[in-house]
Symmetry: C2
Subunit: 326 residues, 2 copies
Amino acid sequence: MSGTSLLSLLEAEAGAFVSGEEISRQLGVSRTAVWKQIRKLEAEGYEIEAVPRLGYRLNGRPSRLSLQELLPKLVTREFGRRLKLFDDVGSTQDELRKLAEEGAPQGTLVVAERQTQGRGRMGRSWLSPAGKGVWMSLLLRPEIPLPLTPQLTLLAAVALSRAIARVVPLEIGIKWPNDLLVNGKKISGILLESSAEDERLKYVIVGMGISANLDPEDYPEELLDKAVSLKMASGQTIDRSRLIAAVMDEFERLYDLYRDRGFAPIRSLWEAHSVTLGRPAVLRTPQGTVEGVPVSLDESGGLKVRLANGETKTVFSAEFGETTGS
Amino acid sequence: MSGTSLLSLLEAEAGAFVSGEEISRQLGVSRTAVWKQIRKLEAEGYEIEAVPRLGYRLNGRPSRLSLQELLPKLVTREFGRRLKLFDDVGSTQDELRKLAEEGAPQGTLVVAERQTQGRGRMGRSWLSPAGKGVWMSLLLRPEIPLPLTPQLTLLAAVALSRAIARVVPLEIGIKWPNDLLVNGKKISGILLESSAEDERLKYVIVGMGISANLDPEDYPEELLDKAVSLKMASGQTIDRSRLIAAVMDEFERLYDLYRDRGFAPIRSLWEAHSVTLGRPAVLRTPQGTVEGVPVSLDESGGLKVRLANGETKTVFSAEFGETTGS
């Protein structure tokens, strides 16, 4: 952990030089050891200027995520405390599933700089270029019966939208069940994979993709009117470590709340962020198309839709189609 | 498939001799080819008596399951039509899960003579000795929303109990959700493992263990007052191929019914076979103990229990405890 201390020393000086002697004294190590740690930080992508007699100055941070940056920002009890950081994976979901099958505890988090086979809903691929997004999967072992799993899908959407809003000033809307939108464009995707034996959930893997610092040239042409990054929407470069820590914090708080008080408070938060309720919609479900106005969530997280004939129908799984107008 | 024809020829004569010449003529193959097929059947465990001038007679069948015996008994459209038969596996669930992840179609069935790591509910092991039971796993790809999965658990129990009753005259009771009992002793276990993405089921693997021809000496002492085999309960040796074919048939019929008419008819059948409804019970759930009288199933397959104070509580997952009496 001495690497962390050197980094925090340099960070504390905010762009000023710290002498090697001072560092050596504060860390209680030799100047040779200080120099070795500096080299290690540089290898991780930190830009450190070394000037004789003045010492060392931190000029730039790596765009890569590092445990050194991430761990000090975590304020959670459990979520993200077991953390695996990959440069390159097929998909964080698959990596975490292996860990889950081997008995990894709740809160285990897998984060990757890049996914080569990132997955979205319904087997679609998910754009996950290196160094610019937050691609991660969180392990839950909820003691809830299987039929309540959809509540976790909604909880995840609320956690993510609250965390993002803490890091960057954007108005985020939730499209049922868990797409996050800014001005109607998608900034994030969530995919829950669950495994159950009879009515008992074995685990749930919450996959989260947040388009943090993607630039327009990172998107294929056809996605540009449907998707946007936090950076493009806000003009700010996002500190991804801070964002990950915020997601873990919000997720753990909401999960505690859910465990203690049930779904009601989660539902209220979801409904407050929703851009789906009250707007006419065409919902394509495996059982056929449902057209009407979504009015609320039901107890198990389904979407209640008021049909033209005044009846109410609950939808559990659907794609949004184009409304026919009127 | 010529092996099947030779076998059916011998079976059609029901214990009488069929001459080699007759077989050769009917199958349109040489007498040497007939002799080779006879040897093949013997290698699979059939006892065939060969007497000069008289010909061949089938005296005994293998205790091993074979595709030759099983396939002609299948009357289904889809269930069991893709079939993998193993002598020895860790668990049929794990074998089928691999196939499911590779895209195997609905109805794929894995059957094993013996499981070395047979699993029951909640990670308990499941006794699966060679040659005496039916240990198998069936793949479903249901187009139902995740919260309705428990309905399939109940459907499986109904299918299994109806199939068994077709093969052996026993009165079978269903203990919620899916234990099958004869005179209060367990004859079968069912374990559904499901995998979902968001609200969409990817697949469900229905594990079924039927203690068909186990003898008392196959059971550990402590199981003998809780478990019994069909053979012990009825005095008859069970034709396992016929039993497997009957399960596939009943399962497919009920599954079709479920798809066409929903859960209501399945629920009625389950309730008719139930030994749980109307009897005071102590149910240990992950959320605490519930004591009362189970009165019916709810829409999603949960068990509605009437408490002492007159209220009704729905239980989704529980172990039965000892009642305190009264």
